[in-house]
């Protein structure tokens, strides 16, 4: 699955980290680091983490692309 965190918006509250510790972690005091392509098994945890973020900075894919197909 794919996620992206808007790190402009992220305030480093770390609410999300304990909910999906294999995907999200704190770097230093206030910077969030994340795996943009976590295992599908993490889906429920990532969704809970995204819901817990007070500024809604975690975007989880809502749609699995059927395309695109490169031309070559």
């Amino acid at each position: 699955m794919r996620i992206v965190v808007d790190l402009n918006r992220c305030q480093g509250y770390a609410q999300c980290v304990p909910l999906a510790p294999d995907v999200l972690e704190m770097l230093g005091e206030e910077a969030l680091a994340y795996d943009p392509n976590p295992d599908d098994a993490q889906r429920q945890r990532v969704l809970r983490a995204a819901a817990a973020c007070p500024v809604q900075a975690i975007m989880v894919e809502t749609h699995t692309p059927d395309g695109p197909e490169p031309e070559e």
């Binding site: 402009n8 230093g28 680091a33 795996d35 943009p36 392509n37 395309g67 695109p68 490169p70 031309e71």
Partner: protein, 469 residues
């Protein structure tokens, strides 16, 4: 039928069957496509991109990916909705025929459009000597393929890495090398790291941060040549101060070049600084007249900003690509009264040497800086930039929670120096010159550039064109 209902019908018709083409299938291109569908566009939509990959996110490339935490091909952007588009990936647009409204492709095909979005971004400025650039071990980092190759080279455990240029991306790469335990030299022609975007006062702090972390930082020197061995692998760098360095990986981080060449001859205001457009993302033609069916978003766009004296600004920031794409999409399928301006307060983040760096506004528009909170010694502070008595930008090192406080003041053009916040006041609250480089002196390209005229750039000669007799 009244004109108003005629116009409403036209909009309905365009949304149902108009043809929209987006050139540049990356962050801005994808987010624009999603926004178009969200806002009710149902006509045929084509995305053209010269990379073979579907849209991916670039910020992790110089961070998680180089560190080896995340594979380079694992940063594909999440899809926030179905966009039902025709994708043409791995194909470059080579021309734009505005008269017949079609985009010309490298394959020889022509793709017709009713409205076009230009989102072709920028590319890494290559090492200036092509023969040296072709040596094995010499890299630039813009694409996920670049990052994959550099990561492999770092994993192989080079004896020394040389990073040329110390803007945000160069500094992030130096930081990753330190974390990986690789000896790294940073060569910077200017006075210090981040001086282009943040000025010399912050540059001094960034320099100390790099040296504390063990970076061999050389400022005020340029790399003049790279030597390869018999096998064509880079081995040595020659610096302008007469010294040489034994290196086996060189990363050129020399800023970027806007992808506008394919627009040559299209009659748009496209050039070195990008494609000029109005605040509603509508491209200007070569005479500065606004077009009605060509739009621009992301790194390749430059537009006037009310907060910065209407100077044209190009912003190589993630946030600008996302917001610009959404505004362009909205304006492509709405009438004038529904159009929105793209007037973001620029904002960016960077992570390096364990410090979370964030900023808002256009710091380089300022000429003074004041430390407002925390202490630079601990790499934990907030600083504000001022221009003629008002606050125009702010930067924080490990103090990001306070950024909205400054953002609100910048949006109001509040007085500079700003009133001291009631928390964690800095010990020395006196403003000082921010020490931005003279724009005439070549240094690293900042990733936000003010491209309007200012007193140092009055080199143009304008000839008023008369009607032919």
């Amino acid at each position: 039928m009244s004109t108003a209902s005629l116009a409403a019908d036209l909009v309905r018709m365009f949304r149902a069957e108009g043809r929209i083409v987006i050139v540049g299938a990356s962050l801005a291109g994808l987010r624009a496509a999603e926004a178009l569908r969200d806002k009710g566009f149902c006509g045929p939509l084509t995305l053209i991109g010269d990379e073979t990959h579907e849209p991916y996110d670039r910020p992790p490339l110089s961070k998680q990916v180089l560190k080896g935490w995340v594979r380079a091909d694992h940063t594909k952007l999440p899809r926030m909705r179905d966009i039902d588009a025709q994708w043409r990936l791995g194909v470059a647009a080579t021309g734009l025929d505005r008269v017949n409204k079609q985009v010309l492709l490298a394959t020889g095909d022509a793709v017709p459009y009713d409205r076009l979005l230009i989102a072709t971004g920028v590319r890494a400025r290559p090492w200036f000597n092509p023969a040296e650039a072709a040596l094995q071990g010499v890299f630039t980092v813009r694409t996920c393929d670049d990052a994959a190759r550099l990561q492999a080279a770092l994993r192989a455990g080079p004896k020394r890495v040389l990073v040329v240029g110390s803007g945000f991306v160069g500094s992030e790469m130096a930081s990753v090398c330190c974390e990986l335990g690789l000896p790294v030299t940073v060569a910077e022609r200017g006075g210090g790291p981040l001086v282009g975007p943040l000025g010399g006062v912050i540059g001094d702090i960034a320099a100390r941060m790099q040296r504390d972390a063990g970076v061999d930082l050389r400022t005020g020197v340029s790399v003049e040549a790279l030597d390869g061995d018999a096998g064509g692998h880079v081995r040595r760098a020659r610096l302008s101060d007469g010294t040489t360095l034994d290196v086996d990986v060189v990363v050129a981080s020399l800023g970027s070049i806007r992808n506008v060449e394919w627009l040559a001859g299209a009659g748009l205001a496209a050039g070195f600084w990008g494609v000029g457009c109005d605040a509603g993302c509508r491209a200007f033609d070569i005479n500065g007249v606004v077009t009605d069916n060509v739009f621009v978003a992301g790194d390749v766009a430059r537009q006037p900003h009310v907060l910065y004296e209407y100077q044209f600004i190009s912003m190589e920031h993630w946030d600008n690509a996302v917001c610009g794409a959404q505004v362009a999409a909205n304006n492509m399928i709405n009438l004038e009264t529904e159009r929105r301006p793209h007037l973001p307060l620029p904002s960016f983040w960077s992570g390096q040497f364990g410090v979370n760096i964030k900023g808002v506004g256009v710091c380089s528009f300022g000429d003074e800086i004041v430390f407002t909170q925390g202490s630079p010694e601990d790499y934990r502070f907030a600083a504000a930039y001022g221009h003629r008595g008002r606050i125009v930008g702010a930067v924080t090192f490990n103090h990001g929670k306070w950024l909205p406080y400054y953002a609100a003041m910048i949006e109001r053009s509040a007085p500079f120096p700003p009133p001291p916040p009631g928390y964690d006041r800095a010990s020395d609250p006196a403003p000082m010159p921010a020490r931005f480089p003279d724009p005439r002196v070549p240094t690293e390209m900042p990733d936000v550039v003010l491209t309007g005229h200012d007193p140092t750039s009055r080199g143009a000669e304008f000839h008023w064109a008369r009607e032919p007799a």
